[in-house]
Symmetry: C2
Subunit: 353 residues, 2 copies
DNA sequence: CTGTTAGCGCATTCAA
DNA sequence: TTGAATGCGCTAACAG
């Protein structure tokens, strides 16, 4: 039936321990012996029993990458880069990490469930990507869970997420995006063009990413003397998807038909906003300007091409992957802020006179 | 240190075996005892040791979903749906499956590596999504690997991939897309509009998806008396990404400046094709028509909206998830073909006179 | 450099 | 309905 390490040992005429050593490559083994063992492994088509190995070693080669929405390229790009970076580990041969992505669907409960499942598997590392849900209960639960994970030796890396309050010690490294700064610069760009009545299509209210981008926007508005209650009227919350952007934009137009610009929470939402504006007969950017966030691959192909804030998703993901495998040293203080670049394209222009 | 089942047993004043039984819910346990145990679990914040459990039971709750490109929504949608469907299992409580997606990046070697890693973890099921690479060596290796997986009790489900030659017995179920039929209908649509000089931007040459879609296209062309060597000249292969579509389209235009339509291997490629055509000063569809495949969410928002073939990615993924957990019975013969619907939008029209 | 010896934490017989 | 005993397959000291 299933071939075990003992079978390999018997065939290679060595002890099980020796087989284990050549497989893990952690101890010196004579070249000739190693050859013999590897041949036996090959002939028997032996595959290490992961659970047994993990049980004995009290650690596994599983690395979990948590994402809010696997169908969203924003997460796909980071996850793919992280996964790729982990394959590059220095310790060839047995150094394989099973990098694996878990889709929380944005649900805090599922996030916790996955964390437990990963803890159960004694994962080597966990990477949390994207914004967190800001709910006192959930934040505390997450912090506690991460602390336990860290206790058990699991490395915890945050990618595109602010440090979890109360989990300082538990976190190996946090790579956070400067959503606030990006949001501010984007709105400043519009203000500079001469816009004054700017609508904002925000993401889900309880997300850190949403809040930070919105805060950046409002900071810019207030600095231009456009603060006050009006801001609330010109902000509509929704999901981070196309449909939500479409609906929210129509609502914005209903509330303020004289809008000259719409800023969206991200590029996907911006696409929906563009569709809504077109359906209303408005030309972009002649009648109204539109801006997004993230600079996903499709944004340059939108018509007109989208003005947005470029986040180095690929680099961030790769770095998170290296941090998770211990290939790269954590930044000083454990936290690194990654900036976004304003990318001005054709979807924004001067407001109509 | 780390809490074990024995600790829980001690606290609940029962034997370890009893704790195991209430946790797995497979044996009758007195309600009062169960209560006591669950309370102890809670108080101690106990988490089952996955590897130990998997070792003892010779099976784990890990399910692997392999995708070619995690940054591509085509895969993200299927994977997300599959993952979601698995969470719905009937056996609540301990029924949690750790559904996990593995990004092969389209590399046959990585695919095999992941399969081995999953075999090592004694995965409960494996879902392979998207087209396969058609290389005799790799096909044989994959078939052999799948056979071993199946031998070990792992369920193998194919989603959007044709049955693996030589692995018939090993596969629980195969959900394949009718790429050929979709490709044929798409080209027939263009022929009906009056097009005769149709360029084709294909995917990577060695992929089943690529071949099937292309065969459908050519079948339609030949049926219209447009077969022959000319077809090769009007076909350019590339990757399934935007950039590749852009470059291939320019090449097509170079080879045949009088093209009246371009069919792309998928929507992402079509987006690149549109960009190239625009950059060349051609209007869509007035000067030239464009069509894609898949009907990804962004396709309806392209300008002009993309004519394409809609694949029920969400449904297919969900079904694959259910097949993987055994929630749904396999189709008769183990293979089900899923059709695609022609979706005619604004990017295709009659050729210019 | 290699063999021996103990568990790792849990599921599952077999009794009671 | 519950407890005691055994072994899953492997790694990690510890000798040699």
């Amino acid at each position: 039936m299933t071939v075990t390490l003992a079978d390999v040992a018997a065939r290679a005429r060595v002890s099980p321990a020796t087989v284990s050593r050549v497989l893990n490559g952690n101890y010196p083994v004579a070249a000739a012996t190693r050859e013999r063992v590897l041949r036996a492994v090959d002939e028997l088509d032996y595959v290490l029993n992961g659970p047994a190995s993990a049980l004995a070693a009290a650690t596994s080669d599983l690395v979990g990458i948590l994402v809010n929405d696997i169908a969203d390229p924003f997460f796909g790009i980071m996850a793919g880069a992280a996964q790729h970076a982990m394959g590059e580990g220095p310790g060839r041969a047995g150094g394989e990490k099973l990098a694996v992505v878990c889709n929380t669907g944005g649900s805090p409960e599922r996030e916790l469930t996955y964390l437990t499942l990963l803890q159960r598997q004694r994962a080597a590392a966990v990477v949390l990507t994207g914004g967190a849900v800001e709910d006192a209960g959930h934040t505390a639960a997450t912090a506690a869970k991460l602390a336990r994970l860290a206790d058990a030796g699991t490395r915890v890396v945050l990618c595109g997420r602010p440090p979890v309050p109360g989990a300082g010690e538990a976190i190996t490294a946090a790579l956070t995006f400067d959503n606030r700064g990006g949001g501010r610069r984007l709105t400043e760009h519009l203000l500079t063009l001469g816009h004054r009545r700017i609508g904002y299509v925000a993401g889900p209210a309880e997300r850190t990413t949403t809040r930070h981008r919105l805060e950046g926007h409002r900071a810019a508005m207030e600095a231009a003397g456009l603060g006050g209650a009006g801001l609330d009227r010109l902000t509509v919350h929704g999901r981070y998807d196309r449909r939500s952007g479409y609906d929210a934009t129509l609502e914005l137009l209903r509330r303020a038909p004289d809008l000259t610009a719409v800023v969206a929470a991200n590029d996907t939402v911006a696409l929906g906003a563009c569709a809504a504006l077109r359906d209303r007969g408005l030309r972009i950017p002649d009648d109204i300007s539109v801006a997004g966030f993230d600079d996903l691959p499709f944004s340059v192909d939108a018509v007109p091409a989208l003005t947005t804030v470029r986040l180095p998703l690929h680099e961030a993901g790769a770095r998170a992957g290296r941090l998770a495998t211990g290939t790269e040293a954590p930044p000083p203080g454990g936290v690194a802020t990654i900036g976004g670049d304003l990318v001005v394209r054709a979807s924004t222009g001067r407001p109509a006179a």
